[in-house]
């Protein structure tokens, strides 16, 4: 299933935050969205998943979601959004219960996604017992459980320390290599963008517009920490963004 954004514009009262964004997210690819703070990247992601409505333009799903898909557009949040009163397994079962999946069927799915995220031993742990990286892996497991057509990732690694971030990036690459998924990945971290993105969309500062779309041909599995090609790409992205980021930083925040 592809996602197409058609002429999306948005404003709060008279305050224009986004102007005419048209973008295609092709099936089986990770599209990273980067941009200076306040350019509306997270807002754009909420439009894609239907959590917010843009003032103009529309988001289209092209084609049918794959067989067995319970929740085509599934988020992974920056702050994990796990229910603290449910165990790891309970948090995953939460999103299955409403689809009438209980008992043995639910247990099969939960076991499967916990194995894929290497969390099998922690099924009965409460979120408060887990480190940040593990919490985010639980959130990824929960997202996998509903077999999404498109994953909408809102700065999923930004709340983690840099070592954990590296490990989780490797995990995401592994997951994708074993079974390619479609994702829109919002981040302010250019290293994450060049590591995980098949294409990187650079947004300008407010009002957010697409400045450039950079395609990175190198296969995900061959990209590593400190890869010189990626460094060059990252430098190019940073040059695109630097002036925007500086100007955005000097603006008054009245959102």
């Amino acid at each position: 299933m592809d996602i197409r954004l058609e002429g999306i514009s948005h404003s709060y009262d008279d305050f224009e935050v986004m102007r005419d964004i048209t973008l295609d997210v092709p099936d089986g690819q990770i599209v990273c969205i980067v941009g200076p703070s306040g350019c509306g990247k997270s807002t754009l992601l909420r439009f894609i998943g239907g959590l917010e409505r843009p003032k103009a333009g529309r988001v289209m799903q092209l084609g049918e979601p794959p067989e067995g898909c319970l929740n085509p557009l599934t988020y992974i949040f920056q702050d994990f959004a796990l229910l603290p009163w449910r165990t790891v397994a309970g948090n995953i079962s939460l999103v299955l219960e409403d689809h009438g999946i209980r008992g043995a069927a639910a247990r099969n799915i939960i076991d499967d996604v916990l194995t894929r995220t290497k969390l099998t031993d922690f099924a009965e742990a409460l979120p408060k017992q887990l480190s940040g990286g593990m919490k985010q892996r639980v959130a990824i497991a929960r997202a996998l459980a509903v077999k999404p057509a498109v994953m909408l990732m809102d700065e999923p690694l930004s709340a983690l320390d840099s070592q954990t971030r590296e490990l989780l990036m490797d995990d995401l690459v592994d997951l994708w290599s074993r079974q390619p998924f479609t994702a829109v990945y919002v981040t302010h971290n250019l290293a994450e963008a060049v590591r995980l993105g098949h294409s990187v969309v650079v947004l300008s500062r407010r009002p957010g517009q697409i400045r450039e779309i950079v395609h990175i041909a190198k296969p995900l599995a061959e990209r590593g920490f400190g890869d010189p090609d990626l460094d060059a790409q990252q430098k190019h992205l940073w040059q695109l963004m630097r002036d925007e980021a500086r100007a955005a930083d000097a603006e008054l925040l009245n959102v």
Binding site: G49, L51, L70, N71, L73, T74, Y75, F77, D79, A81, L83, P84, W85, R86, L94, V95, E97, D98, L126, P127, K128, R142, V146
Partner: protein
């Protein structure tokens, strides 16, 4: 700075971290009672000011052996439980509705604010007219008194539920009812339970008030009768029973909190 005279850094953290010392509370009670006993025995405190704790204990034993203790306790407990149950359950339901629906919130929050400061005791005659001199008016008074603080605590607790968790529920396509049941209610539980602590204490206070009119048996009736006769021993026995009820209730809530809120960091 030539001479490197070392000086260890003074510790200035610490404190502001309450810890449980059970024996301290027991000691406070023991010391206070021992002081009262010693004072009344030595005549330092006159018998008119304070009854001897040992006399209070004897009176309590008499009450127990005469079988009247349960004669007073049972009607009071049933009034307390039924009244507080009605008040708290209606309070929690209305509080959740206020928390969830803007129209109900706009309509009821000012009403609750208007009802809250009314001393419910002042309404007792009204309740007697509405619900009769029997048990009805007593249930109503206690229920009404526990209702308002429960409502305020509950809708505050619902407001404080983490919105990102609710958005998460919506993003996974959970139904409205699932979100309320599995995210909003458990998330509001800490606030609801701490509100319940206050409401139940108010229920005990109102129990005595409710038994001022038309009650032959009951802890409140027992205290009021003793009070009007200036029988301080019996008055203190009654007060002691009420305090004990309060402590037991608070312990019950602590137990529920430990059971239900073990997930809290």
């Amino acid at each position: 700075m030539s001479e490197a005279q070392g000086k260890s850094v003074a510790f200035r953290g610490g404190g502001f971290a309450p810890k449980a010392h059970r024996w301290v509370s027991v000691m406070v009670f023991v010391v206070l009672i021992a002081l009262a006993e010693w004072g009344t025995r030595s005549g330092w405190i006159s018998a008119l000011t304070l009854p001897k704790p040992s006399d209070v204990l004897t009176t309590f034993q008499e009450l127990y052996s005469s079988g009247l203790l349960f004669g007073h306790l049972m009607p009071s407990l049933s009034r307390l439980i039924i009244g507080a149950f009605i008040g708290a359950s209606v309070g929690i339901s209305v509080g959740v509705l206020i928390g969830l629906f803007s129209y109900i919130r706009s309509g009821l929050v000012p009403l609750v604010a208007a009802i809250f400061p009314i001393p419910k005791i002042a309404l007792l005659p009204l309740f007697v007219i509405w619900f009769g001199i029997g048990e009805g008016s007593k249930y109503a008074l206690i229920a009404f008194g526990t209702f308002t603080p429960t409502v305020v605590a509950t809708y505050g607790a619902v407001d404080n539920v983490d919105r990102t968790l609710i958005r998460m529920g919506q993003s996974f396509g959970l139904s409205w009812w699932s979100i309320v049941r599995k995210i909003v209610l458990p998330g509001a539980m800490p606030g609801i339970l701490s509100g319940l602590r206050i409401s139940l204490a108010i229920a005990i206070i109102l129990l005595v008030a409710a038994e001022m009119l038309g009650a032959e048996y009951g802890i409140g009736a027992y205290i009021l009768e003793a009070g009007s006769l200036y029988d301080l021993e019996r008055l203190f026995v009654g007060v002691f029973i009420l305090s004990l009820l309060g402590v037991i209730m608070s312990a019950c809530i602590s137990l529920i909190e430990r059971k239900l809120l073990g997930w809290r960091v």
